[in-house]
């Protein structure tokens, strides 16, 4: 299928990527290239084929219950927040969310 600039703008919104009008065409072309490539897949009959999301079909492992609970790490908040653009009293600062 071919898509249009409107769909590209919508995808950019979903992906939270700032995309000026003049860039839409470039991303539209690249999306159409990949979708054209993906079109090849439609020639394969995949009726009743179970989709594979993990190469080993493994299941999510669960921790065993233990007496000391599930805490395996101590608190590293200060160290981890050192790489944040802006923090205050252990909180991440962002521009006002609600007016």
């Amino acid at each position: 299928m071919k898509i249009n600039e409107e769909i590209v703008a919508n995808i950019a919104e979903l992906a939270q990527l700032d995309m000026p009008q003049e860039q839409l065409q470039e991303y539209l072309d690249s999306l159409n290239n990949v979708l054209e490539l993906a079109e090849q897949m439609q020639s394969i009959d995949t009726t009743d084929v179970e989709p594979m999301s993990n190469p080993l079909d493994s299941i999510q492992h669960l921790h065993a219950d233990s007496d000391d609970g599930f805490v395996t790490e101590s608190n590293h908040r200060e160290r981890y927040q050192k790489v944040a653009p802006e923090t205050e009293q252990g909180l991440y600062l962002v521009p006002k969310v609600i007016d």
């Binding site: 898509i3 769909i7 590209v8 995808i11 950019a12 979903l14 992906a15 939270q16 990527l17 700032d18 995309m19 991303y27 690249s30 999306l31 290239n33 990949v34 979708l35 490539l37 993906a38 079109e39 090849q40 897949m41 439609q42 394969i44 995949t46 084929v49 179970e50 989709p51 594979m52 999301s53 993990n54 190469p55 080993l56 493994s58 999510q60 492992h61 395996t72 590293h76 160290r79 981890y80 927040q81 050192k82 790489v83 944040a84 653009p85 802006e86 991440y92 962002v94 521009p95 006002k96 969310v97």
Partner: protein, 486 residues
């Protein structure tokens, strides 16, 4: 020639005190200083910490408390988090990111006594096959200036080939260890999915990503895999299976081995001299007593479209964490929260990364999910079934690693799809989760050619056995490029 020795010879020389760990590390640092401006294989060089660590290893050696690889100078792909050291994943997004912890791979390598000389260049977030997508500039292939080293672990492969480290780590999502190893004339292995922990390894496509070693020979790779492999409770997808000693099987005779060749790997688009080098290698395996037979992997040609839906889909989810709030790039003077997210991401990510995020977001969006993402996952199962059928007949599958040797910078960067086709032989093992290696088997137009060896699940020993036996018969793996600077 300390920098072109095998791991065994280096450890042996350190044992005999031919040189100290400090002298060895200093030797590599001097080479990096002389050559990295040109090669650009390293993004960050850790001279001070490397020398400090070398002194500790010298002390441990004198005290008799040295770990097995004490003093071995290595480099980590800049996708592995390294405590206190800048970790960029080749992106502007992480240009200011000092990782607050070590990846499990980094931790294991360090505990084994290896010394990290620095962090190697790579395609941004491992998305690329030529290293041309790095925010930190192109890497020169040590075999020819102006030529790509392959990608995405291009810096890691180039550093080994140029003798700027004894070995390195890489990651492989669609061929990112094997393809640059092939193009730089070194040996690289992508282990079985889950064999090596992904904890602390910056995620691209989580169901495909796997870390592995890049080194001068199969023997060196085996030594490193012994250290890297194993279950990690911090990675729920890591395999809880015993780790064999990968050096044990290296010397088995290959007489009884059944090797499969897939005709689909030798179709149009394969460079002629590459094919010749591969055919000669096949003859050599045959004369060493291995049985060669044809197998079929009919789904191979559909692997590219399936991969370029699945990998971007997973990437679009993984890369949503880069939002300018907790770490990484933040835009100047955000007007509101939405502006902060959108501009930080648009400025922090490069073009190829944004294109893949767009493809992934599209493939996962309502109305298109079944036609693209679900369909690709179904084809993924068919690809795995192909391999299961093939491995009922043969022990290993061999063929070319890449359709051509390294190409000139800029040659394919304008044509996205022809760049994607670079991965045609490598991505099937990622989709199926199988282990696969690349070893040097000759030259095409004076550039190295790699042979890929794919094995069944957890058959890394068998792959390395075949690779090692080939390297005992040939000298491709010990050839080195002419020094780029005196």
């Amino acid at each position: 020639m300390k920098h072109a020795q095998s791991i065994k010879s280096i450890l042996n020389a350190l044992d005999k005190k031919d040189y100290s760990c400090r002298e060895l590390v200093q030797h590599f640092l001097t080479r990096i200083q002389a050559q990295n401006d040109h090669l650009n294989a390293y993004i960050t060089v850790c001279s001070e910490s490397a020398l400090k660590h070398a002194d500790l290893m010298d002390q441990a050696r004198s005290a008799g408390t040295a770990p097995p690889l004490a003093g071995l100078p290595i480099a980590h792909k800049d996708i592995f988090c390294t405590n206190g050291i800048k970790t960029t994943a080749g992106s502007r997004m992480l240009n200011n990111f000092i990782a607050p912890y070590d990846a499990t791979v980094v931790d294991k390598m360090s505990t084994a006594g290896t010394i990290s000389l620095g962090k190697t260049n790579m395609d941004e977030f491992a998305m690329g096959s030529s290293n041309e997508n790095s925010f930190y500039g192109n890497v020169n292939n040590p075999w020819a200036a102006g030529t790509i080293p392959g990608g995405s672990s291009g810096g890691s492969a180039a550093a080994v080939a140029a003798g700027l480290c004894a070995a390195s780590t890489g990651t492989d999502t669609g061929g990112s260890i094997r393809q640059p190893a092939a193009m730089c004339g070194v040996t690289g292995l992508k282990p079985t999915y889950g064999r090596v922990s992904r904890w602390g390894m910056i995620a691209y496509a989580s169901s495909l990503d796997q870390a592995g070693p890049i080194a001068r020979s199969a023997e060196d790779v085996a030594i490193l895999l012994n250290v890297m492999a194993g279950h990690d409770p911090k990675d729920s997808t890591s395999l809880n299976e015993a780790v064999p000693d990968y050096t044990q099987a290296l010397n088995r005779p290959i007489k009884s081995l059944k090797i499969g060749i897939c005709p689909a790997h030798f179709r149009d688009g394969l460079d002629q001299q590459t094919e010749q080098a591969i055919q000669i290698a096949i003859k050599q395996f045959e004369s060493a007593g291995a049985t060669i037979s044809e197998i079929n992997l009919p789904m191979t040609k559909h692997a590219i479209p399936a991969y370029y839906i699945i990998a971007p889909a997973e990437a679009s989810a993984n890369l949503s964490r880069y939002d300018g709030v907790r770490f990484g790039h933040r835009c100047d003077q955000p007007q509101n929260i939405s502006d902060l997210y959108k501009r930080s991401r648009a400025e922090g990510f490069g073009k190829e990364v944004k294109q893949r995020i767009m493809v992934g977001s599209f493939a996962l969006s309502a109305g298109y999910y079944d036609a693209y993402y679900r369909k690709a996952q179904q084809i993924r199962r068919l690809i795995k079934n192909d391999f299961i059928a093939a491995f009922n007949k043969v022990d290993l599958i061999i063929g070319p690693t890449a359709p051509s040797p390294a190409f000139k910078m800029g040659e394919k960067s304008a044509d996205q799809i022809s760049m994607y086709l670079q991965d045609i032989y490598t991505i099937t093992s990622n989709l199926a989760g199988l282990p696969a290696a690349s070893i040097p088997v000759g030259f095409s137009n004076n550039m190295p050619v790699g042979l890929q060896i794919i094995g069944n699940y957890l058959d890394e020993s068998k792959i390395l056995n075949l690779a090692h036996q080939f390297q005992l018969m040939t000298d491709w793996h010990i050839q080195t490029p002419a020094e780029t600077t005196p």
